[in-house]
Homo-oligomer: 343 residues x 2
């Protein structure tokens, strides 16, 4: 399975997803600033994957620090955490991972620096491995909701590239495929950044899982033509009331699914749940640069100077969601509030 | 007002819309084959505009024919009509225009060739001018449905570029703007061919009508955020029961509009109505080349060999449509069946 991010010889190796599927190139980060830039530039994306990357970013800052005073050393790692936390606002996993790393620093206060370095790297590895485990469990649990021969619509990328490995929504699809359920996957290209076309279609096609690429504008008609029996998407943050923030366009898919009586599922590890906020309306929505809308592949398609809206995420209210599939079980959105926070 | 197509010095001059908004270049067609190719390649598109172009294509065939036998001459023009009719299947205006030209040939049977040439060119000019008149009337009538300060969502391009001039849905927007209704227009980019980003945003921006460009995936959220008070789109064919074929993605907008209690209007000249068919399910839907989905601006974004669906149009059932705005008045979809056919 392809890895979005890994710790390699004292560096953070990030697969540059902006170049996929044309080129498979890696960024070997030697400094935390490079890690932060890679997150900002979407070289690595997907809520779980950016959490893992941020954790490794802090481990990298610990590794590369030249300071010998444990308290100044801790201050430097904290600043690295703040830098990483400022990269993207919506996915909660980023903050959850950074907070876990901060807790390790708390525990390690006063310990010698080499011990702190080891503990921070061990925690980043744990975050990665727990995510892979969670994905496998989500895949196994969620595949029970998939029937033989189902047409499944998915959106954006929730695969190995968006997580520690295997994937959330795509993990369920992989698991159903491994169970020989003969599914057919329709993937929306997911404008503006085309994660569906570039990443999800690529992940599925290379594993020979049947996939049909459509533009986002075709989703309604594909449903109306009776091709889709389930929709499964990922999440960047889940509020206490079960509202879900996910890639812009998810809400439209949810509305279309309800209109066609198609179950709409969200697959995400519990690290994506934010019990600190009551509803989706409180989730900060990142607005990204206008060029993502006006330009594609370096070419400009919109008239110069035209106004653009580029909300990177949207909120799907809980009422549109049949089930939230986590590693702790499958829940109705109204059951999310009863879950214990992971950290 | 910019012209999509015009008769110029014995040639058919077509604005190459595939190059907009970057370049304003024209194709001066000297043969009907070039006209057919320009329609196939979307250099000219939009249901009314391709009807007008086809009419001029037949006038051009008449102009350039070297035959001196009136019956062989007529056969050549008929073949030109058949060539043009085979370019695109969905928009009825193409066939309506060709049928009008054929009727002229019928009337002219036995007349000398110069007379036939004049009559055919006069009919093509009439088709153009009637369309411009219809657009102006649609704009005037439809603008009565627009309130001061409305946020209006439109889709694809229904402007001067899609018609003889002025536009259908965009004609209403122009008319409301001329009436100083202080509207704000949101336009979906309209994948795969980006007519919204390239053409509609361009037409509105150059006339200083406030426009915000969004990806198709943002339409649901823009509605949920309360920015939209009306949706207005065009049509490629309207069935007897009021079902509407229009650019792929229109149906999704209609579903979203109903979910948010936003009126959804279709603006089209009566030449777009096809009383020969009962419902939308009988409208032939063009499927275009996969490269429109996989490639953007000459660059490939999808993995090689992946399956693609590229339906160019969709059907919006009558139940989603509040009003169909024509030059003969504003109708509920169930009133379409009572309209007399134009030809």
């Amino acid at each position: 399975m392809i890895r979005a991010v890994e710790w390699k010889e004292g560096r953070v190796r990030i697969l540059d997803q902006t170049k996929l599927p044309g080129e498979t190139t890696y960024i070997d980060c030697e400094k935390v600033e490079q890690v932060a830039q890679a997150i900002r530039d979407l070289c690595v994306r997907g809520a779980p994957a950016i959490g893992i990357t941020a954790a490794y970013g802090m481990a990298l800052a610990a590794q590369t620090s030249a300071l010998s005073s444990p308290s100044l050393f801790q201050k430097e790692i904290e600043e690295a955490g703040a830098l990483l936390a400022a990269t993207r606002p919506t996915a909660i996993n980023l903050f959850t991972a950074i907070n876990r790393m901060k807790k390790i620093m708390e525990d390690q206060k006063g310990h010698p620096i080499p011990s702190q370095r080891r503990a921070l790297l061990a925690e980043a590895n744990a975050i990665l491995n727990e995510d892979i485990d969670a994905n496998r469990t989500i895949g196994r649990l969620g595949s029970a909701l998939i029937a033989f021969g189902d047409g499944i619509l998915t959106y954006c990328n929730t695969g190995a590239l968006a997580t520690g490995g295997y994937g959330t929504a795509l993990g369920i699809i992989r698991s159903a495929w491994e169970q020989e359920k003969r599914i057919a996957v329709y993937v929306c290209e997911t404008r503006p950044v085309l994660q569906g076309a570039r990443l999800t279609a690529w992940e599925l096609h290379r594993e020979k899982i049947p996939v049909v690429l459509i533009t986002d504008s075709m989703a309604g008609t594909i449903m109306r033509l009776g091709k889709i029996r389930r929709c499964i998407v990922g999440a960047d943050r889940i509020a206490t009331n079960g509202d879900v923030a996910n890639k812009i366009g998810t809400y439209t898919i949810a509305v279309l699914a309800r209109e066609h009586n198609i179950p709409f599922y969200v697959a995400a590890p519990t690290s994506t749940i934010d019990l600190g906020i009551a509803s989706g309306d409180q989730i900060p929505i990142e607005e990204r640069d206008r060029s993502e809308v006006t330009d594609i592949g370096g070419k400009t398609f919109a008239p110069e100077g035209v106004a653009v809206s580029n909300l990177a995420f949207d909120i799907t209210p809980a009422e549109y969601i049949q089930a939230i599939i986590t590693e702790k079980g499958i829940f109705r959105p109204d059951q999310i509030q009863g879950l214990k926070p992971s950290v």
